[in-house]
Every structure is written in C-alpha cells, then in structure tokens.
C-alpha cells in the first residue's frame, strides 16, 4: 500500500503519482490546473478579439483567423475552462461535505479527468495542423459540415472525448451522493453546494448524450459521407440546432447551478447565519434543473418554428425567472440580520448579486420572442450570456477559490491582492459587457470580424475593448496571488473562516483518506452545531478501524491516450490510409486497457488501524 508514504521527493515520483492517482482531491486539483490553463488560453483569445474590434474596419487579424478565434474562445471557455473548473471544485469539496472517503468510482473519476484534458489538447492541436475550427462554438450545419480543412473535425473529436469524460463525472457524483453520505447526513441536511452538484450531475447525465449524438452525426457527415445535414440528399440542418440546444441549454445550468451552491455556502459562512430558506433553495434548484430541459428552443426563435412553438418556449423560459428570483431573495435575507465579514471571497459573492441580476433581467428580456427577433445573434445576446457566465460562473469560481483554497492548497490567499484582482476585474467586466447591450440594439450582430465606419458603433466598441484590459489585469493579479501563496504563503489554520459545513471538520493536513473516523451528522451545518454546543469538532460515528482504499492505476491515462490517437485516425482517414493504423492502434490500446480493467481483479487495499494510529503521531 501507501503510495503516499513512499518518498515523494523526485519529480518523476510526483508525476507518476498524479498520472496514476484516483484520489478525488488530487483529481480535483488536476481539473483546476487544466481548467485554469484553458481559461488563460480562452482569455487570450478574448483579448485578441477585443483588439480586433477596438476600431472600425481594423485589420489586426484576418477574417478567417478571427472566426477561428471566436470559435475557440467559446468552445474553450465553456467546455475546457468553466466546466472542468467546476468539476474540479466538486471533486475537491463535495465528498468532504458529505463525509465520504472518496467518490463512488475513483477509477472512472480519473478517466473522466484524462478524457477532459486530452479533449482540450485535441481541440488545440488544430492550431498547429492547418487551422482551428471556424464555425462558431455552436457549429451550426451546414457551415460546419462544409467548413474546409480539418478544424471542425478537431472540434468534433475534442468535444466527444471531453463530453464522455464529463458524463462519467456526472454519474460518479450522483452515485457518490446517493450511496456514500456519512451517518446522519440525510438529503435535507446536505449543504447547498452538494445539492447543486447533485442536480448539476442530473443535468449532465440527461443533456450530454444529446451532444454526443449531434457530434456523431456531424462526424459522420464530415468523415463518412452521410447526409444528415445535407439538403441535397434530404438532410435537415435544423436537427443539429435542436440537438445542440437540447444539450446546450441545460449546459448553461450545469455551469450556473454549482456556483449557486458556492454562493450559498459563502453567504451563510460570512454572515454567520444559517442559509435563509434552505428548503426553498433546494426546491428552487430542482425546479431550475427541471425547467432547464424545457426551454432549449428559445435559442431558435428566429429559425422560423412558427408562433405556437415560439410562444410556448417563450413562456417556459420566463418561468425560470421565478425559482432564480427565489434564490436571489433568499441570499439577500441570509445577509439580512447577519454579522457580515467582507473579504475577497465575500466581495466576489456580493458582486455576483447585481451582476447576475442584470444577466437574469436580460434573460427575461430575450425570452420575449418578438423582442428576441431584435436581440438574437447580436451583441445584446453576447452581453446577456457574459453577464450570466462571467458575472455568475467566473465570479463564483473565483469566490470558491478564495473560500476553499485552505482546503485545496493548505494556504490562505492574500487578501490585499485578492481585492486588487477583484476591483480590476469587476470594473473591467461591467465596462466590457454593459455597453454591448446597446451595441446590439444599435445594429451590431455578433461574430462580426469588422464593423463598418460611420455606423455609430465606434465608441461602444472602444469602451468594451478597454474594459477587457482591466479584466486581464484582474486575472493576472489573481494568478500572481496564487503563485505567491504557493511559495510564500503561510500554512492555513484549521477552519480559518469559522465555517459551518463538514469539509471544515477535516484535519487541516487533509489526509488522503479524509476522515479517520466517519463523522456523525446531527443536522444542517453539522460543524456549526457542534461548535455551538461547545464540542468544537465532530463526534465520530464509528470506532477507529481499517479503512478500505482503492489502488492507483495508470490505465485511465493509457485508455485516454488510446482514444486520443484513434481520434487522429478518424480525422485523417479521409485523406490518407495510413491513418487507419492510428485509428485501429488507438482503439486497440483503449479497448485493451478496458479489457485489462475488466479482467484484472482490483480489490483495493486496507489502511490498518495500527497505521492510522501511527500516522496520527
């Protein structure tokens, strides 16, 4: 046993440890590193876009390259930055919140991560092999089926890989939450972040397969000559739009629900108050998740679906505002009457309220179909979803980083730097995107490589571009903060925020088995209850005993490499028969790993009672 107690000095040992790890906390960190990398990449693409649009008829980059930039910015940010960063947080925190020692399928968890990472690499390899995808992150057919070169092929296979990984992550969390809660942790005692993880996982489970099918159809059309979207042979490109948005709209909630959880934790902790209306919050989350599947066609009001369809989807969409409003007001009432501490984590959370409310307001506005005939595919919509995704999701991820950094990295982030990063980013964000609402209404469609002179769009675009500069500065300061604390930061104390939930009951050294003894949960906010009753720490639910742990494995990594190689085979078999070697070789490796996994018994190992007691010294 004890992959951990082995000497961890050499770089190779650390590398091997991470390549083979099945520990949810390490996988969580890997997700965060991977997500952060792609976030910076997507951010760079955003800056290039804003430089191109700083003045009318700019020629900073060519039309073709611009289209690659917008496609890669959108795809990267949604699939390879926001989603994995959230999956990372869920991995790192959720099992601790419910008092579990790991997730239900540690092996699958590792596989999910590697699939995400290699999916992202796959997508970005396209920059080096003759051009990135250029059909927009929505890849509407027939633009995507007729796009020359291999860019869109990389899009298809990169998303297919990472999509499979995300789906596995979702199932894993679901089973973990249902089966592995600590004694006494009933559903209605789960922290909101765990609840939102749960609902998010349901959304992933039912939404991603639609994307999988869509991508398969696109792949078949591009690489195997089928005719799903080919009008000449009776195909219908609207099918792609339906499949994409049946996935795409729930995906928005996959992103926003977890941060709703994050904010619920942060508001409660820093107001020193129980979350107001916990039950209402849980049911609002479930309702949002449910309604999220009923509204996809509001992305398609201008497709020509007819007034009946448009009206139904308009009303269904507006209905989502109700549970979202419930959440906003419950957060406000959590603050009300509290004893509020404002630090970096709280600043992001407080800034989220107005920013996200604006995003929600414009959400109701775009839901009104006739008004959407004007908003659709303009900068108004660009502004709307950036208010939701930056003002909601990115603020939430940054808040969560400040809040949970002590658990994840055993350091407390620097407050001063945190505030600098916040104010730069916050001001830059509103500067960049608020004005875009008006640009849209003044007649600027989205995905425009250039806007023409004398159309009244110059000043708005300039302001927007300057705002992007401030946002960049904010990100750089945050990054500096993280690196600074890595090397210079003091070790975090136990429970630095005087928090309420179970993850703060874990020892500050965060042992790899999480809990020596599973804790007994006696209500909502279990740690707070113990503190109020003067115990200060959790009561164990079991005596010290052997702990069953899973073995690490290199198979998830190898399996992913197999699929990665096979993807190149799929892409290039259309032009060169040698590619079949890659296709079959890669698939052989992947399926071989699967077979080994199935045939080789892996019973895990036990940490004995004696070892546990020794380690405590």
């Amino acid at each position: 046993m004890s992959t951990l107690t082995a000497q961890k000095t050499s770089f190779a040992a650390v590398l091997w440890d991470y390549l083979t790890t099945v520990d949810h906390k390490k996988i969580g960190k890997l997700y965060l590193y991977g997500g952060a990398f792609f976030f910076l990449l997507g951010g760079l693409e955003a800056v290039i876009i804003r430089i191109q649009l700083i003045k009318p008829e700019n020629d900073f980059i060519s039309a073709g390259l611009y289209n690659e930039m917008i496609t890669m910015h959108g795809t990267t940010m949604i699939f390879f930055a926001a989603t994995p960063l959230l999956l990372g947080l869920m991995n790192a925190i959720m099992p601790l919140q419910i008092g579990a020692r790991d997730v239900a399928f540690p092996f699958v968890n590792a596989l999910g991560f590697w699939l995400f990472l290699f999916g992202g690499i796959m997508l970005n390899v396209s920059w080096l092999t003759g051009g990135a995808p250029d059909a927009g992150w929505t890849a509407y057919a027939p633009l995507s089926t007729t796009s020359p070169g291999h860019g869109v092929d990389y899009y298809v296979l990169g998303l297919q890989l990472s999509g499979a990984g995300t789906l596995m992550g979702g199932i894993n969390f679901l089973v973990t939450i249902v089966n592995m809660r600590a004694p006494g942790m009933t559903f209605m005692r789960m922290p909101l972040f765990t609840w939102t993880t749960f609902i998010t996982s349901v959304l992933i489970l039912f939404a991603f397969p639609a994307l999988t099918v869509g991508l398969f159809l696109l792949m078949f059309d591009r690489m195997f000559g089928s005719a799903f979207f080919d009008t000449a042979l009776g195909g219908n490109s609207i099918i792609w739009q339906h499949l994409f948005w049946i996935f795409g709209h729930p995906e928005v909630y996959v992103l926003i629900l977890p941060v709703f959880g994050v904010f619920s934790e942060i508001f409660a902790t820093f107001s020193k108050k129980r979350l107001f209306g916990y039950t209402a919050m849980v049911f609002a989350t479930i309702l949002i998740g449910f309604l999220g599947f009923m509204v996809w066609a509001h992305h398609m009001f201008t497709v020509g679906m007819g007034p009946v369809t448009n009206s139904i989807f308009a009303i269904a969409t507006m209905a989502i505002a109700v549970p979202t409003g419930i959440k906003i007001f419950n957060w406000l009432l959590t603050l009300w009457g509290g004893n509020i501490t404002i630090n970096s984590a709280m600043l992001w959370a407080l800034a989220f309220i107005p920013s996200f409310t604006i995003g929600g307001m414009t959400g109701v506005m775009v839901a009104s179909s006739v008004a959407d005939y004007q908003y659709h595919d303009t900068y108004f919509v660009v502004a709307h979803f950036h208010y939701v995704i930056v003002g909601g999701v990115v603020f939430g991820i940054l808040a969560a980083c400040h809040y949970w950094w002590p658990i994840m990295f055993k350091r407390v982030l620097n407050e001063k730097l945190g505030k600098w990063a916040f104010w730069n980013f916050f001001i830059g964000f509103h500067m960049t995107f608020f004005i875009q609402h008006f640009l849209g209404l003044m007649g600027m469609p989205r995905r425009y490589w250039v806007f023409l002179e004398n159309q009244g769009l110059d000043l708005g675009n300039l302001i927007s571009s300057v705002g992007a500069l401030f946002m960049s500065i904010g990100v750089i300061i945050f990054l500096y903060n993280a690196i600074y604390c890595w090397f210079k930061g003091d070790p975090a104390p136990q429970d630095p925020w005087d928090a309420r939930t179970l993850e703060w009951a874990v020892d500050k050294s965060v042992p790899y088995y999480n809990f020596k003894q599973l804790p007994l949960v006696r209500g909502l906010d279990p740690l707070w209850i113990e503190k109020m009753e003067g115990n200060g720490k959790m009561t164990p639910a079991e005596p010290v005993g052997d702990i069953h742990m899973p073995h690490g494995s290199i198979l998830p990594f190898l399996m992913t490499v197999g699929f990665f190689i096979a993807s190149f085979g799929f892409i290039y078999q259309t032009v060169n028969d040698i590619a079949y070697i890659f296709l079959f070789g890669g698939m052989g490796l992947a399926l071989g790993c699967m077979l080994v996994r199935s045939l080789k018994d892996d019973h895990g190992y036990h940490i004995t009672k004696e070892e546990l007691e020794k380690e405590a010294d």
């Binding site: 239900a104 399928f105 789906l167 199932i171 894993n172 679901l174 089973v175 249902v178 089966n179 592995m180 489970l205 039912f206 939404a207 991603f208 397969p209 639609a210 999988t212 099918v213 869509g214 398969f216 159809l217 078949f220 059309d221 195997f224 000559g225 089928s226 005719a227 799903f228 080919d230 000449a232 042979l233 009776g234 195909g235 219908n236 099918i239 339906h242 499949l243 049946i246 069953h548 077979l595 199935s598 045939l599 018994d601 019973h603 036990h606």
Partner: protein, 207 residues
C-alpha cells in the same frame, strides 16, 4: 488477506450483487448510465423520425423492410432477455453452473440476433443499393439501428469476458455485481429494440 475472505463468505447472502458498497455503487451507477443512454437513443429516434421520409428518390421504408426477418429478430432478443432473467435467478440461489448455462444461451441468442441484422444490412445494400450515404433516410436508419447493433456487440464482448474470466472460480461478492450489471444492460438493449421494432419497422411498413 481478510477482505478476500469477506468476498467469499461461507454462506452467500440473498442478494450477492448488492452485498458490498462497490456492488451497490455499480448497480446504481448502471441505472444512471442507462438514463443517459435513454437520451442518446431518444436523440437518434428524433433524428430518424425527422428524416424518415427524406429518401432523396432512393428506396423508401415500404420498399425495404420485410417484417418476417425483423419479427424473428425481435423474438430472439426478447427470449435472450428472458434467459438472462433465469441466469440472475440462479445467481441469487448461488447456483453458478446454471447461471453460466443461461448466460451462455443469452449470448448465443444475441449472436443469432446480430447475425440476422448483418444479413439484413447486407440485403439492403446489395439488393437495393441502400446505404449510409444514399439519402438522409439511409443515414438516419443505419445510425439508429447500427447504434443499437453496436450496443448488442459490446454487450456480447462484455458477457464473454466476464463468463470466461470467472468460469473457473465461481461466484463471489466481487463478480456478482458484474453479472448483475450486465443483465440490466441487456434488458435495456432489449427495450430499445422494442421501440425500434415499433417506430422504425412497423410504422415504416404501415405508413
């Protein structure tokens, strides 16, 4: 090792497939997985329904389908679902040999089904020139039925892997969940086929 013993108890519990946490997790995980698979097939069905009349001048569903063969295939797959139920019944009675026998029959029926399907496709391609590329209807048909066939093939590989691997050592709490999840998966494949039979073949022939 102590836990090895715990996976091979003197007396097998009533539900060996759910006696361990790993077993419970596998069971629930597979159910969730099948939930996702439902959406996958629903998307394919939706695509098929949207494109089933888009024959682009090529053969239509009425020209192509022969219900005799498809009915035989349906019977084969339904029966295989039933035999896998017998297998699980014997697993719960801790009768490993009978379980293997019934699983074997399940597998043979699955192979027969797949054989019929391959013959069917061969027939369409050579008699009618009806391929994946000939029309949007062709693409949608082969995608939907082919995805199902792929699932059957995967199920057969899975079945033979666990049957051969465990042939010598009998049933224990470690492999019981594997047999159980396979059986669940197999039922799901069967249910999907019932829908394909109805939506694709019956409705295609009648409409």
């Amino acid at each position: 090792m102590s836990h090895d013993h715990s996976l091979n108890p003197e007396v097998m519990p009533q539900h060996p497939e759910k006696a361990t946490l790993e077993g419970k997790n596998k069971f629930l995980g597979l159910w969730f997985f099948l939930g996702g698979e439902t959406v996958l097939f629903a998307s394919l069905f939706g695509t098929y329904l949207a494109l089933k009349n888009s024959t682009a001048g090529g053969p239509t569903s009425q020209d192509l389908f022969g219900l005799e063969l498809v009915f035989l295939m349906t019977m084969l797959l339904l029966t295989s679902s039933l035999t896998s139920v017998y297998a699980m019944y014997h697993m719960k009675n801790n009768d490993f040999k009978k379980m293997q026998l019934w699983l074997g029959i399940t597998g043979l029926l699955g192979i027969a089904f797949l054989g019929c399907e391959i013959y069917e496709f061969y027939h369409y391609i050579h008699e009618f020139g009806f391929t994946f590329r000939s029309s949007a209807f062709g693409s949608a048909f082969y995608a939907l039925v082919g995805f199902h066939g792929g699932h059957v093939l995967f199920g057969l590989c899975w079945l033979s892997a666990i049957m051969i691997r465990n042939a010598k050592r009998g049933l224990n709490l470690y492999n019981a969940p594997k047999f159980n999840t396979f059986s669940l998966y197999w039922h799901f494949i069967d249910v999907v086929w019932v829908f394909i039979f109805t939506v694709v073949y019956l409705m295609g022939k009648v409409a």
